[in-house]
Amino acid sequence: MSRCLTERSIDHVVLERGEVANSWKTERWDSLRLLTPNWQSRLPGYRYKGDDPDGYRTMPETIAFLERYAQVISAPLRANTTVTRVRRTDEGYTVTTDLGEWRSRALVLASGACNIPSVPAFAQALPHGIAALTPMQYRNPGQLEQGGVLVVGASATGVQLADEIQRSGREVTLAVGEHIRMPRRYRGRDILWWMDTVGVQDQGYLEVDDLNRARNVPSLQLAGYPDSRDVDLNALTTLGVKLVGRLAGIRDGVAQFSGAFANLAALSDLKMNRLLRLIDDWAARNEVPGGVEPPQHFERTRVPATPPLTLDFERAGIRTVIWATGFRPDYSWLDVPVLDRKGRIRHDGGVVDSPGLYLMGMQFLRRRKSALIDGAGDDARELSAHLASYLDGSQVHFARERSAAAGALASLGF
């Protein structure tokens, strides 16, 4: 956004509570790599030029990438400046920080979707003596006691941690709620190459049948390991991870799991296969440079015949619970009445329900890839145009273009 504002000669500052790439530096586990291949982090006026376009960035590489970008675009950055309050005034917004006050006519909220780990309320019923960690506190398996580990949640974070911790010799039980299964590679290409090429990543926020659902679907079961290995439930079962249903409660030292596991696995298989058939249809009608391998069919998710419905922490030897149950944004500093009853910002494709206020970096903000580094560019170009029109008082409107694959994507289901 800063780069787009600079291009439009709009005077602005970028406030950062830490240094550039703060959350990547301080809130991620050691082995994490980006889920997107290197070539796919395209930012306005900047792209990957290294010799491993299909690799996945480590955290130090990700941090260096963002630091270089901030330098290249000469972002007017105020680092180590923590925003403590944002108020609306007649002229615009007043931003209070620990280093003084800023006044602006327009404001872009780019503080992220993942500030606070969402942990279920029943977590407090966890028996004493069992360590509980959120993914923000987790660094590596060496940090955990020997013994069993219950990982709660099977989106990208949960399945990656289950994979890594099981490989460290600790027995992992994974509680699986709603999830989206995805192979890392399909027909010889990265799945995200396909989603980008076919147009899935560009699917617009007005082109999904249920936007609320699209904005809340769990992240794809993917990892960016150098060996491109899958981390879906079948891969984890093969590793020896025990699968149970969604954690529904804890009572008297016993975890209770939902009996709906088989259906969630079936729904996930159906969604994955719908995407793969969409890719096959596209590949049948289009020339793929370098050719493609034949269609693949993946085995159904192997669901245990009778997954246990309860787990006694003590008897099962569970020493650690990891709450991979998602994150939510922190708006405790936002003193502008734009939150809905569930604490989410009311906005239309990033244009917040308060004049001159914009939002970025949220899932499906304007398109499927909005929460990816690769999606920031298109969103920033469009929202900066809206912001510029707002500042000069001209008519503000978006061209409501349909993405190329809109029709075919309507029934994707995630």
Partner: protein, 192 residues
């Protein structure tokens, strides 16, 4: 813009009304709070009769068009008089009714014409639990199997997706597969 003529599907479900209600209730979530009610009278032995008519929802008291009554009892092999289905069979009836209603509604929404839908249910139970023979055996079902046989204008994949979505949206399926807090109170009725 679709230029195809809308496919005519009639499963007897008023989807427009359901979608309208969904839209209205998402704006007024208080009205979405319902209370379902039943009252049960002991008849004799293991025979009881449950009556259902009133319920609460959309912000006020509501009522079924008529009162429905259900007899529950146990079969003769339990030394009972068998004046009704067993309560656990009523649970299967609830699950079947809920999933099948979901199948019809979602089929209507997805423009799938149904010709016939038949669900067959089996609930496995080890009655050592309810008889107190073995405290490691639970009282309730240890496994429920549902089989749907559907004749419709749709592929096998579409039917699987239909049945999967019906489970995802089903109240009774949720009640059975997830823990629910149940509180039971008792009052002593005075003689006079």
């Amino acid at each position: 813009m679709s230029t195809e003529t809308e496919k005519q599907v009639q499963n007897g479900v008023n989807v427009d009304a359901l979608l309208g209600a969904r839209d209205a209730l998402s704006k007024a979530p208080e009205a979405a709070k319902f209370n379902w009610k039943a009252s049960c009278k002991w008849m004799n032995g293991t025979h009881s009769q449950t009556s259902i008519q009133g319920f609460y929802g959309l912000g006020s008291q509501q009522s079924h068009k008529t009162e429905f009554t259900f007899d529950t009892d146990h079969p003769e092999i339990f030394a009972s008089e068998d004046k009704g289905a067993t309560p656990v069979e009523m649970v299967l009836a609830g699950l079947a009714g809920c999933l099948t209603a979901g199948v019809a509604s979602i089929a209507q929404l997805r423009k799938i014409q149904l010709r016939s839908v038949k669900a067959t249910l089996e609930g496995a139970m080890d009655i050592q639990g309810i008889l107190g023979i073995d405290s490691d055996v639970r009282n309730g079902f240890n496994d429920i199997k549902v089989n749907f046989e559907i004749d419709a204008d749709a592929s096998k994949d579409d039917l699987e997706a239909l049945v999967a979505q019906s489970q995802k949206r089903s109240a009774v399926y949720d009640v059975i597969t997830n823990p629910t807090n149940v509180s039971v109170s008792v009052a002593k009725k005075s003689m006079n």
